[in-house]
Symmetry: D2
Amino acid sequence: MTFEMKQKVLFKHCDPAGIVFFPRYFEMMNDCVEAFFSDVLEWPFESFVGREGVPTASIETNFVAPSLHGDHLLIALVVERVGKTSFSYRMTAHCGEQKRFETRARLVFVNDRGRPQPWPDAIKAKLERQLEPAA
Amino acid sequence: MTFEMKQKVLFKHCDPAGIVFFPRYFEMMNDCVEAFFSDVLEWPFESFVGREGVPTASIETNFVAPSLHGDHLLIALVVERVGKTSFSYRMTAHCGEQKRFETRARLVFVNDRGRPQPWPDAIKAKLERQLEPAA
Amino acid sequence: MTFEMKQKVLFKHCDPAGIVFFPRYFEMMNDCVEAFFSDVLEWPFESFVGREGVPTASIETNFVAPSLHGDHLLIALVVERVGKTSFSYRMTAHCGEQKRFETRARLVFVNDRGRPQPWPDAIKAKLERQLEPAA
Amino acid sequence: MTFEMKQKVLFKHCDPAGIVFFPRYFEMMNDCVEAFFSDVLEWPFESFVGREGVPTASIETNFVAPSLHGDHLLIALVVERVGKTSFSYRMTAHCGEQKRFETRARLVFVNDRGRPQPWPDAIKAKLERQLEPAA
């Protein structure tokens, strides 16, 4: 299953060349993951306590084409792999038919001391339900 | 050769878990590349005209360990490959002996219409002088 | 008349104390002004050319109470004064009944050389229609 | 006495009009206050615990002239008033002789529940030593 979030490219995202400054894309990616936790897992980030959270352990991104101020992006997240203490997702952004970026990343669930800890069972079950069916 | 930049982890970089929010790391990486262009290539970003620039085409990062507010990071950039219209770098950040992230990225030199264009000869020569000697 | 924008407080807005980092509020304010130009004036920021734009000339803000991660803010903009080349607005943010900030600011319409220029007649007319009726 | 911080205008600070996006100025102001606490008060922000901190209660800024990418700013902070639980500062930024912004702001020292609390005596004494001598 695919989780989607719309994002208009705003003034604050753009650099002197008039295109999205790439660190702002990573804020959009984080916003999409945050919305996925809130809307799909029903486990919003704001319910984490102290240092508990889901920091990004690794991320790789291809910026396929630049995005201009005013572009309407559709950002799509797909869960690719669910581990005991982590999960991996693939994310793309399109403006109409044109791909703007593609990302793969891995998040780790950490406890209040920043150490990896197993997903709660209910969350793991929800994550696994998101896995794409094999082709 | 290695280009180094110091960066203290500031309040603005940190999230509710008290560690660097990962999109802020990408701002630090961009600052390091900007300083490399200014100090090593003597071709500061502010001399680009219009849409001319060096957008990041791809980047992959491992966040090896979290950074805390107040940590003193040493960010190091090494040129890995120089192409006709692009170059690739490796970047690491350490706090003391501990690695915090490692990145590989590729930048493309684009003209005022956002199209790849060959490096100026003098810049290409400087970039090639930065290449690590083969072991 | 009042223009309203909803904004959930997200992870990216918050600091190590778990509350909105105040420069992020100014990004929200800018987003609200950008939405006002797009939705009310039907003159989106992305239609500006080159250095043409509406930079903020002055702004004063009281942060009445802190906002927490997950709070749902309602941001409200009211046009207070329309000049030949500028306009002034008042903006507030509330979470439920509680006020979080109040701002007064003045924007100036500048041309491609960054110099103040008169509003287009149609825009000035729209801005004036937004003025609050005298009590 | 005046506390000074240098800040080059970087790519990340600038908007599609090629000038500093005003919320980025507020990040610079916060950086300057953070450096003042670290260097002058010898009480770095990273030593605050939990929600303890010095949030900005009010701030007003005039953006006198735009700053361009590559400009070298000198940001200057002067303590204007020291209260029991707060202090007020004036801050300016110049590029050479030209003023870019002037700010007045008030910070409040809050405890771990976000409530105002009196400055530690040693800090209050240091703040008072910073007060400008009456003319």
